[in-house]
Amino acid sequence: MSMKKFVSLMFALTFVFVMACGKGHEAASKEQEGEDDEAAQTATATATNTAGAPAAATPAAAAPAVADAATLSGTVKFAGAAPKPAAIQMSADPYCQSQHPNGQGAEDEEVIVGPAGELANVLVYVKNAPNGTAPTTPATIDQKGCRYYPHVQAVVVNQPIQIKNDDATLHNIHAMPAVNSQFNEGQPVQGMVANKKFDKVEMTPFRIKCDVHGWMKSFMAVMPNPYFSVSKMDGQFSIPNLPPGTYTIVAWHEKYGQQEQQVTVGAKETKQIAFSFKG
């Protein structure tokens, strides 16, 4: 092959290569636009779901249907004067600050006490219930306004978990379990979703935090069965579909530790129990 032919061929190949790259870039831009649309949809949906519910409870996972299943429900109360939630200083990231005009909603979520002394964000679970299978519906963690929604939740072993970033700023999801494998992943773009799961039982909740925004923290426990609930703003919790038996019920709070109660439930019984944490 003569040099001239060779050089011409190479120029032609380079041209094709450049064109191919250019096309790839266009395609990438289109994908990006598509993603943005999706992100917008996700953001809207999340806004609807979470409006007015700063500490949303985990929806109870689908428990196996038992013919004579009982339901365990009750209230968690806070005894004493409710502490005033501390304001979170978000000025380190102007985006986060802009999501909370006048500091609205930028308060610490560690202790949330309702008007009648109801305590939210308490994980109530059955310690010695039979194992169950993981639901296919994913549990979600949303990052919105530089906060986690929900603040406390439990999942079943191997249940899919979807972690979304609804903010137009970089968050990193740093899960710090003691038994399961840790992960630490960034989500730089609004609308990004990370899919995770934990494959070992870890009943003591562990922290999930953002290292960029030090105030962002959330708690998660990994259960062998779906018999758990998190107290809502009104302090209420409910564990349905529980097979009859005698159980140890545990209530866990991130600041005030945990309490246990022995409970026996009969067939189709709806049992009420109560927990009270002291400040």
Partner: protein, 632 residues
């Protein structure tokens, strides 16, 4: 028509072409005899895989290192896409996999991985093996008139430690949590608590360090013991001096890092705390380790290697540039003795400047003052070398061929790299500039348009020696001019960014930071486009390289009309076994160009005896006569 060159073979004169044929025949007979002598013919594996011939090991090093150079460069190309257009989805990013770039958007931890591995691969797997392993291995024995390295099997072991080191580094990309992401410096405590990839990085480093140590011992012994008769110290080509000093740097600087690497490995796998202090809190949780260690210890051990390592990167480059400048100005190197003295002093001083990388660690003013002083002192030999190389151009009849273009570009580029280092060597200015893009600009000017350009110069220069073929000049010039413009487009704006205080470790290039966003937005896309342009301009080189190997025109033995033994005293490519048919006897210094003693040609080879048949016949011709005599 030019008269045919005549050579005397035995008692008869014959033309150069016939003498070459005779020589080839003699080589074939000699190889057969050697094979009979050893009782077996060399197997493919022995000859091409586990070879003990320094030339083939040099080629192995060179090819592997060039592959790593391209790989390390491609990691940077991905980083530059992210820096230029942060958070955008790029189809090419999907190559990294869903866990690193979901939907083509590079994740921050994957960016850190690319950064750490770009540095590691470029320094330890690409440039050092290319500069020392490839050029050093191939050329040093030829230049000093040695039949091989002093320890051929050690030489083979050196390559076969290097390759697994590289494979381990590549394999670390598949580790849980990805490859190492704590920077090429691997500072603890971050690296001590990093994901699994860091362990692989450390194991890889231990292989690479061992490889360098084996190589350096071999070079030192070879240069001391195997110089041909008459090759006195002051007749050594400057390149050999540069390799000699480099070998001492490798030999003395790497062991502390090897020790440090083992200690860090113990911290990670045996739960020791050499580099972990007591009471360390990570992400709000106290780390459950024994503690009592000191992260600064690592920094000292690392920089005790890594500063001499900078000179390991630059000295062979200077050696290459020296050879090419002397050859293409057709005059002796200016100030050869000063150059040799400067290289030796540079090597010595490089061991007492390391803590200028650590002014921000809060060391006392006395220690700071010491390291500032030594840093200012070390700039003197560097300036001597650069000045001598520049002075060598004065009054030369310069041939602007491709290797010379790269060599000429090296001078101002290394000058910029060196001079911008001075403010970093002074604590007062370093406090502002530390960890900014200014530092990246500084050392890349030294290493990229500095050392890598010198490597390209060396490849273009010695390609006819190694392959016996010519490279295409036009493609070479396209490669040079494109690379020269593009590479400045990448690194020059870094000085402006650094002075504006843009940190070097930002995943988004600074776009989220109030003080950095303006300059980041103004410069980063341009720099990234320059990086991709630089990639485009490597294509002519890659094509030229392979095309010339396959279809290049045959080059005469002493293609550049050089004086040093590798060109003048053997064929191109050199003889397979023993390099020289007869070991040459050296008569004079290495750069006798345009010598008034020898008006016949403008170059007087080191081994040529005045009065013997003309040296224009090129490499091998004189030895051809000797071979023919021996055969008779």
């Amino acid at each position: 028509m030019a008269p045919k060159r005549q050579l005397r073979v035995g008692k008869e004169w014959m033309n150069a072409g016939d003498a070459e044929k005779l020589l080839r025949e003699a080589m074939r007979i000699q190889e057969e005899e050697d094979a009979r002598h050893e009782g077996h013919k060399q197997s493919f594996i022995r000859k091409y895989v586990f070879s003990i011939d320094h030339k083939w090991i040099g080629i192995q090093y060179g090819f592997t290192a060039l592959c790593f150079l391209l790989f390390g460069f491609s990691l940077m190309l991905l980083m530059r896409l992210q820096l230029g257009w942060p958070g955008h989805a790029f189809s090419i990013m999907k190559l990294l996999g869903e866990s690193r770039a979901p939907g083509g958007v590079l994740l921050p931890e994957a960016y850190n991985q690319l950064g750490a591995m770009h540095g590691t691969i470029m320094v330890f797997l690409a440039i050092v093996p290319l500069a020392v392993g490839a050029f050093g291995n191939y050329l040093v024995p030829l230049m000093i008139g040695a039949p091989d390295m002093a320890f051929p099997r050690l030489n083979m072991a050196s390559y076969w430690m290097y390759l697994p080191g590289g494979v381990v580094m590549l394999a670390s990309f598949a580790a849980t949590g990805g490859t190492a992401q704590s920077g090429w410096t691997s500072y603890p405590p971050l690296s001590d608590i990093a994901t699994e990839g860091q362990t692989w990085w450390l194991i890889g480093m231990i292989f690479l360090i061992t490889s360098s140590l084996l190589g350096s011992v071999n070079f030192i012994v070879t240069i001391i013991q195997l110089r041909a008769k008459g090759m006195t110290w002051m007749r050594l080509p400057f390149f050999v001096w540069a390799q000699f000093v480099t070998s001492f740097l490798l030999l003395l600087a790497f062991p502390p890092l090897e020790a440090a690497g083992v200690l860090q490995l113990m911290d990670r796998v045996a739960r020791t705390s050499f580099f972990l202090p007591s009471g360390l809190v990570v992400s709000g949780t106290k780390l459950a380790v024994a503690g009592g260690g000191n992260p600064l210890l690592w920094q000292h051990l690392f920089w005790f290697l890594a500063h001499p390592e900078v000179y390991v990167l630059i000295l062979p480059a200077m050696g290459i540039i020296g050879e090419i400048i002397a050859n293409n100005t057709r005059k002796p190197l200016w100030g050869y003795k000063s150059l040799v003295g400067a290289v030796g002093f540079l090597g010595f001083m490089s061991f007492v400047v390391w803590a200028h990388h650590m002014f921000m660690t809060g060391m006392g003013t006395v220690i700071s003052a010491f390291f500032q002083t030594t840093t200012m002192i070390i700039s003197i030999p560097s300036v001597i070398i650069l000045t001598a190389l520049l002075m060598s151009l004065w009054g030369g009849s310069i041939r602007f061929n491709v290797p010379m273009l790269f060599a000429l570009a090296f001078l101002p580029m290394f000058g910029i790299g060196g001079l911008t280092g001075l403010p970093l060597g002074l604590a007062a200015t370093d406090i502002h500039l530390h960890d900014t893009y200014y530092v990246i600009g500084h050392f890349h000017y030294v290493v990229a348009p500095g050392t890598i350009f010198a490597m390209f110069a060396g490849i273009y220069y010695w390609f006819p020696k190694i392959t016996g073929k010519k490279m295409n000049e036009f493609l070479g010039k396209v490669h040079f001019w494109g690379s020269f413009v593009a590479i400045n487009g990448i690194f020059m704006p870094m000085f402006a960014q650094g002075l504006a205080g843009v940190s070097r470790r930002l995943y988004d290039g600074g776009i989220q930071y109030h003080h950095a966003k303006e300059i980041a937005a103004a410069t980063n896309p341009f720099m990234s486009m320059s990086a991709w342009a630089l990639f485009a301009f490597q294509i002519p080189f890659i094509l030229n390289f392979f095309w010339s190997i396959a279809f290049g025109k045959k080059a005469e033995a002493n293609f550049w009309h050089a004086t040093t033994l590798e060109w003048a005293a053997t064929t191109s490519p050199p003889l397979g076994h023993g390099n020289f048919a007869v070991i040459p006897v050296v008569q004079r210094g290495p750069y006798e160009y345009s010598s008034p003693e020898y008006p016949e040609t403008d170059y007087l080879p080191q081994h040529h005896v005045i009065g013997a048949p003309p040296a224009t016949a090129g490499g091998g011709m004189l030895t051809a006569a000797a071979v023919a005599q021996r055969e008779a």
